[in-house]
């Protein structure tokens, strides 16, 4: 039921040609994979590939993961490599960083990134800064992953987006996948990366199925960190987004296309390092920029993108001020009508596009 709800919320058209069946024809190699399964596959493959990789966090083992992302892994790999921790984020995040210092490659799961605030000192001061402070003597190959941002009806303490907070700090890589392919390829990259990576997932996307190409199904499929992806080509306006909001941008683009407005949608994939070049190239074509994010506006991801565009070569190509579509600047309320109006909706994106284009 949750899966259907998520499916409808994101609105992505997930029916693919792959569902056709015919005689005497091998089915196309692409399959439907949910974000959850993609993440699971990524971890499974990397655990198998490298003995030093292990997963720790609350409920990751015997519970199969609070959101079932690590389903089946404990049965397959056992206590040594899939470790249930007590509810002590600061402690186990520190332990994970220490294990990385001594040669292992931990995946540290936060049940949600809201709880990572308890451990944020270990992420920033122990993980992010150490390679620099030691002038290259001590690398920290660690992944911090978990769901980030708004969910549904979980209220203020469980709905914050941490993309801006972590992306502020040098020494970290911050990744925010959208699709199943993104999730798999980027998580594999993150695990293979010799540096601390903050991997921001989204609970509402876990159940959403996406088409996964044959290439993406391979055990060696990785997506490089630091490169954005063009999800939709267009001429009139550039929409830059990450995570679940990419779905909304594509939906808004579909609606606007009927009115003759073609949006170019960029899926950031990585927040830090930011692929400014991809955004600039797009602006030089469309002359208009709108960033779309779920997080709060002040000092957010959109704010950074706008500042960089101002400072870079693309500024001269803007025909209108670049703007941001963001979550409302309030703690997340509980009541559905209030919650729905606290985050960007498709209509907000459409409205902003029309204002920017002055139509």
């Amino acid at each position: 039921m949750a899966s259907l709800r998520c499916f409808l919320r994101s609105g992505k058209n997930a029916v693919s040609a792959g569902l056709r069946r015919e005689f005497h024809r091998t089915p196309p190699a692409a399959v439907q994979v949910t974000v959850r399964d993609a993440l699971n596959q990524a971890m499974d493959e990397e655990l198998e590939r490298d003995e030093r990789v292990f997963l720790l966090g609350e409920e990751v083992a015997q519970y199969d993961g609070a959101y079932k992302i690590s389903r089946g892994l404990w049965k397959k790999y056992g206590d040594k490599r899939i470790i249930d921790t007590p509810i002590t984020e600061m402690g186990f995040a520190g332990i994970a960083v220490g294990a990385a210092m001594a040669g292992l490659r931990p995946i540290c799961e936060f049940m949600t990134f809201n709880f990572s605030m308890q451990a944020i000192d270990q992420v920033i001061n122990s993980a992010a800064k150490t390679y620099y402070m030691s002038a290259g003597l001590q690398p920290i190959p660690i992944v911090f992953r978990g769901p980030n941002g708004a969910s549904a009806g979980v209220a203020a303490q469980h709905s914050q987006c941490f993309a801006a907070w972590y992306s502020h700090c040098p020494g970290l890589k911050v990744v925010s996948p959208w699709s199943a392919e993104d999730s798999k390829g980027l998580l594999k990259s993150a695990i293979r990366d010799d540096n601390p990576v903050v991997f921001l997932e989204n609970e509402l996307m876990y159940g959403v199925p996406f088409e996964m190409s044959e290439e993406a199904q391979s055990k060696d499929f990785i997506i490089p960190i630091g490169k954005a992806k063009l999800e939709r080509q267009g001429n009139h306006v550039t929409l830059v987004s990450h995570s679940r909001m990419v779905s909304l941008c594509l939906d808004a683009a579909a609606v606007l296309a009927k009115e003759g407005i073609e949006c170019e949608v960029i899926n950031m994939r990585t927040i830090r390092p930011l692929d400014a070049e991809a955004i600039e190239t797009s602006i030089m074509k469309t002359n208009h920029l709108i960033t779309v994010e779920g997080g709060w506006p002040q000092f957010g991801v959109g704010a950074e993108i706008l500042a960089r565009i101002m400072e870079g070569p693309a500024f001269n190509y803007l025909d209108a001020p670049a703007v941001r579509v963001t979550g409302v600047d309030i703690p997340m309320p509980y009541a559905k009508i209030l919650e729905d109006n606290s985050i960007p909706q498709i209509k907000d994106i459409i409205f902003s596009v029309k204002k920017t284009l002055n139509v």
């Binding site: 292990f54 040594k80 470790i83 921790t85 007590p86 002590t88 600061m90 402690g91 186990f92 995040a93 520190g94 332990i95 994970a96 960083v97 220490g98 294990a99 990385a100 210092m101 001594a102 040669g103 292992l104 000192d121 270990q122 001061n125 122990s126 150490t130 390679y131 620099y132 402070m133 030691s134 002038a135 290259g136 003597l137 001590q138 690398p139 190959p141 040098p170 020494g171 890589k173 010799d194 540096n195 390092p273 400072e311 870079g312």
Partner: protein, 393 residues
């Protein structure tokens, strides 16, 4: 084994008779054959431990001289740092270790270099025992390119092989140390991790989180509380509801040890190491020690304690003096010999200080390097949009 041919003398510290017996043999002994079979007069306080460290320790002449030399090097290095700080050649934070030498040297004597160690910010002594040279330590303090972290870390961020710093955030090193211990267990190399923290840090929540996990998972971790009686300017009685730090691990067995006696520390560490290596899980050691300097160079150290107290420790419990007296009174070394070591140490420190003050600062090209490991070169934004700096791994 040398022991079989050595002339072993039993010394009972509280007895007078044995001293007479000893004097009879003195003339016939050659220094190089000398082993001291030393009996401690005081047992360690124990918590959930059946047996403490043995009440006797064997100290060879060679070991004694080595401990003396290392402690003296540490002492002089710290005093030189004090001098350089007052001359403003060292800046920022500088937390000196003089008075606590027996802890660092004793611990290292109880483990191997293949074991692991992590501590907090009063770390110069450990950087030395873990393989750093005085030159590179001092040059790091003065922020030069020859520093152990190329001048980018400073006093609190020095690293060597199997030594994870030098950590500035109070208490954060304790979960890190347990993580290192987890890796030791995971990789199955029979190594352990010594994880140090002070009496001030001992009240940190994350330390209790760590005790829990280390105990649950039986991590080979020796937790060591260096109790120097003051957390910055707050005495232990004013900071802790229970000052029995060796008991604070609750379900973790613990022992309290005289941290001014290098042999005590060594024997206790050996016991702790044996405990960990036999798979029994973590153990907690409290070392009762003392720092002569204030918390850091910006603290004179006399507003919260009396000069008399400092002077008393110096005269009665100085770790270097204690070892020196023990060796001299048992004829394990001559006064001249120890003086010669002093001279050599002084020279080493002078040379290191000379290097540390004349070595150039790091090149500006190095500013943005070492952000990421094993990554292609990247661009880093400078202070303004037109300044693009280069960063290599």
């Amino acid at each position: 084994c040398r022991k079989a041919s050595a002339k072993v003398i039993t010394i009972n510290v509280s007895g007078g008779n044995s001293k007479e017996i000893f004097e009879l043999f003195t003339n016939k002994l050659v220094f190089s054959d000398f082993y001291l079979f030393y009996i401690f007069w005081q047992k360690c306080d124990l918590h959930k431990l059946e047996e403490g460290p043995p009440l006797q320790a064997v100290l060879s002449r060679e070991e004694g001289l080595q401990y003396y030399r290392t402690m003296q090097t540490m002492r002089r290095m710290e005093l030189k740092a004090d001098q350089l700080y007052k001359q403003k050649i060292i800046r920022g934070f500088c937390h000196l270790y003089d008075g606590q030498e027996a802890c660092a040297v004793g611990i290292e004597a109880g483990i191997n270099l293949s074991d692991h160690l992590i501590t907090a910010y009063r770390a110069h002594g450990y950087t030395l025992t873990r393989g750093g040279t005085v030159r590179e330590i001092m040059a790091e303090l003065t922020g030069r390119r020859g520093g152990i972290a190329k001048g980018k870390g400073g006093s609190m961020h020095m690293y060597t092989k199997h030594f994870y710093g030098g950590n500035g955030i109070v208490g954060a090193q304790v979960p890190l140390g347990a993580g290192v211990a987890l890796a030791c267990k995971y990789l199955g190399k029979n190594e352990l991790c010594v994880c140090l923290y002070g009496d001030g840090a001992a009240n940190q929540g994350q330390i209790f989180e760590t005790y829990n996990m280390a105990s649950l998972w039986k991590l080979p971790c020796i937790f060591i509380c260096e109790n120097n009686k003051y957390g910055m300017g707050t005495s232990v009685e004013r900071a802790a509801a229970s000052t029995d730090y060796y008991k604070r691990g609750d379900f973790i067995p613990g022992l309290r040890v005289d941290g001014m006696d290098v042999l005590c520390v060594r024997e206790a560490t050996k016991l702790a190491a044996e405990h960990c290596r036999s798979g029994k899980g973590p153990i907690l050691m409290e070392l009762q020690t003392y720092r002569y300097h204030g918390h850091s160079m910006s603290d004179p150290g006399v507003s919260y304690r009396t000069r008399d107290e400092i002077q008393e420790v110096r005269s009665k419990s100085d770790p270097i003096s204690m070892l020196k007296d023990r060796m001299l009174s048992n004829n394990m070394a001559s006064v001249e010999e120890l003086k010669e070591i002093d001279v050599e140490v002084r020279k080493e420190i002078e040379d290191a200080a000379q290097f540390a003050t004349t070595d150039p600062e790091p090149p500006l090209d190095d500013l943005c390097n070492h952000i990421f490991y094993n990554d292609p070169p990247m661009e880093v934004r400078g202070t303004n949009p037109w300044t693009k700096l280069k960063s290599v791994s």
